[in-house]
């Protein structure tokens, strides 16, 4: 089984990566600013919707319904798409998907492909597989282009280059696009990207896309975007390959009426994003004459099987949870070591890997619930985070010091007598450290607290001591 999520299995622990990023003032500044802007925009267009909560509820219920009947809807999609001239392939895992796609590209004798944003392709490391087969992939999303040229990694679901500011981007373009001069304004940078990519759009015969929604009823595929590179990729080349996770299915065309309202508002804070492309199979004289869908499992059926965590698959990849998350705000996406970062990444990444890797991600959260509040399909992320923490512990993968400490704490909290004994021990133990009721420093692992904050010393009299004394005095 070669199920993997990019390089997440080799990524450092969240705490380790986060420590470094928390110290990177440029990243923190960029991320804080960018997420602040988008949160304001989202709030404005959501607040004007009187039926926002109803849309969220429907969005949630539709997805839950699809997952309950996923076998039916996948088959329905396959039948409809095939009838319209498309070809549907099935890939059990990342390697199988790569083999299929590389084979399809090779069958065209193509040495280049243009790609429109698809995180799923990062998940399966498609670009690496293409390059190994002598095929050059060109990313056409501006942010993905920035990341690709910068030989970097994406740090956000919707705005992958959020961790870069304009000067950094300008430098990347100057270096990699062979330009002698380039303005500093975002318009100049976007203009450079337009020219660089345009000739590829008009020439390269094979494109690879993902999909936001795959409609079972009609066999249609929908791509939601802003820049126009999606339209370019799905309608100009001769051959189109769409890599689609099996959870992207929605039952009917009608259901778009929910998601096309909630996705743009949640993702980019717009009432509607500039372009949506919807197509079904192959259309004579218009667009690709060969259309392939690669349906991808790569661990999704595992998530499906866990009833408590199944709604992880409801995700429509809007990124609102990343923008709302106070943890993400301090670290950016790279801390999660996965193409899927932020709150959704913290639950999706380890689950796709059968909880064997990325085990620190479910702990990368203070459980504040801001993500759940903004999720357009009402995924209860905090609940699932706790559920996954329990899985990590049950597997025996919790750090042994923590297990010992939690066992000891459970013993202490078992009875008032144990609590009192521990309290007395604490009162004695704190003597060297407590001054005027404040502890400034504790040794060893306990310095995780005192390294940053003071701690109140344990008062002489506990509440129950005081109560017991008062009861005694009253009885007299």
């Amino acid at each position: 089984m070669s199920t993997y999520v990019g390089d997440a299995a080799d990524a450092p622990k969240f705490q380790t990566a986060a420590k470094k990023l928390v110290g990177d003032t440029q990243v923190r500044y960029n991320v804080k600013r960018a997420t602040g802007v988008i949160r304001k925009k989202r709030a404005k267009v959501v607040d004007e919707m009187p039926d926002w909560e109803q849309l969220r509820e429907s969005g949630h219920q539709i997805k839950q319904h699809v997952l309950r009947h996923l076998d039916f809807y996948l088959e329905q999609f396959e039948t409809a798409c095939t009838a319209a001239g498309g070809t549907v392939h099935w890939a059990r895992d990342a390697d199988e998907a790569n083999t299929i796609i590389v084979g399809l590209v090779k069958a065209q004798q193509a040495k280049e492909v243009i790609k429109v944003k698809t995180m799923t392709s990062d998940e399966i490391r498609l670009n690496k597989a293409l390059e190994a087969a002598g095929i050059t992939p060109f990313e056409t999303d501006l942010a993905d282009l920035i990341v690709q040229l910068g030989e970097d990694k994406p740090s956000h679901i919707v705005v992958p280059a959020l961790h870069r500011n304009r000067s950094e981007i300008r430098q990347i373009f100057l270096d990699k696009m062979n330009l002698t001069e380039l303005g500093e304004q975002p318009e100049d940078l976007a203009g450079a990207a337009r020219l660089y990519l345009r000739e590829k759009f008009l020439r390269v015969p094979v494109a690879i896309s993902g999909a936001n929604f795959a409609i079972a009823e009609t066999g249609s595929v929908c791509v939601v975007e802003s820049e126009g590179n999606g339209r370019m990729c799905v309608s100009l080349p001769r051959v189109l390959i769409s890599l689609i996770g099996i959870e992207k299915i929605i039952p009917t065309f009608q259901d778009l009426e929910v998601y096309l309202q909630t996705l743009p508002r949640s993702a980019t804070g717009e009432r509607m994003n500039p372009y949506n492309s919807i197509w079904t199979g192959v259309t004579p004289e218009d667009g690709p004459q060969e259309f392939h869908v690669v349906l991808l499992d790569n661990g999704r059926t595992k998530v499906l099987a866990d009833r408590e965590a199944r709604e992880t698959l409801d995700c429509i990849r809007c990124g609102a949870c990343l923008n709302a998350c106070p943890v993400y705000k301090q670290t950016g996406g790279h801390a999660y070591g996965s193409i899927y970062g932020g709150p959704i990444g913290a639950i999706l990444t380890p689950q796709l890997q059968s909880m064997e890797h990325s085990q620190t991600l479910p702990y990368a959260s203070s459980l504040c619930g801001a993500c759940y509040e903004v999720c357009p399909v009402k995924i209860n992320i905090p609940e699932i985070l706790v559920h996954l923490r329990n899985k990590v512990v049950e597997r025996g993968d919790a750090p042994w010091e923590e297990r010992m400490a939690m066992k000891a704490a459970a013993y202490v909290l078992e009875s008032p007598e144990h609590m009192e004994r521990a309290r007395k021990l604490g009162r004695i133990g704190q003597i060297p450290f407590a001054k005027n009721g404040v502890i400034h420093h504790l040794p060893g692992g306990l310095d995780a607290w005192t390294g940053v904050r003071d701690l109140p010393a344990i008062p002489k009299e506990s509440f129950r001591d005081w109560w017991a004394k008062r009861e005694t005095e009253r009885a007299l």
Binding site: L67, D71, M272, S277, T280, T301, L304
Partner: protein, 211 residues
Amino acid sequence: MSSARNEILERIRDATGGTTPGREADYAAVPRNYVRQGSLSQEAKLELLVDRLHDYGATVFHARDGEVDSAVAAALRSRGKVSLLIPRDLPRAWMPDGFHFFREGTSYQEVDLSEGVLTDCALAIASTGSIVLRHSAGAARRALTLIPDYHLCVIFAAQVVETVPEGIEQMKAFAGVPITTIAGPSATADIEMIRVKGVHGPRTLDVILVA
């Protein structure tokens, strides 16, 4: 291939128990308490659409029925253009004298060299300022509305709905052909979250609203 298909379907059935005869009822039971029908008057609806179009930088030319060609001429003059590509079935009556209209050629490079394109639309959604293009035979194929830098689009008042659900309801009827929805010229906010207009796709969008 089919063994992958069978295995995935089997995994799904193991995970969920598989689909049941109650599926349709289950689907029908999904609550849909969001707004579906609009409530604005025709006038207010058109005003809203114009407002949204202006919001994303489209210029709106107003025309009465039968005067589409004059509006086309006005738009072209305002942009300093003398020619446009057109789809096969564009009404002759829309094309004013003194300008050139070319039925599109077949190469992308030809389309790239054009001054712009003139099309109709399938419908428009006022609440979001969306224009819906239906790429069926005779109407503009996708490349035609994508490659040129200028898009002039004719919308009739009767084609305007208020809400997204109303729009989708109409789109259902032609769901089998390629559909493009447009809500503004292409844009990106990938650079410091600052919105920049015009990456790919037509950078200028003009609308003729026929009421």
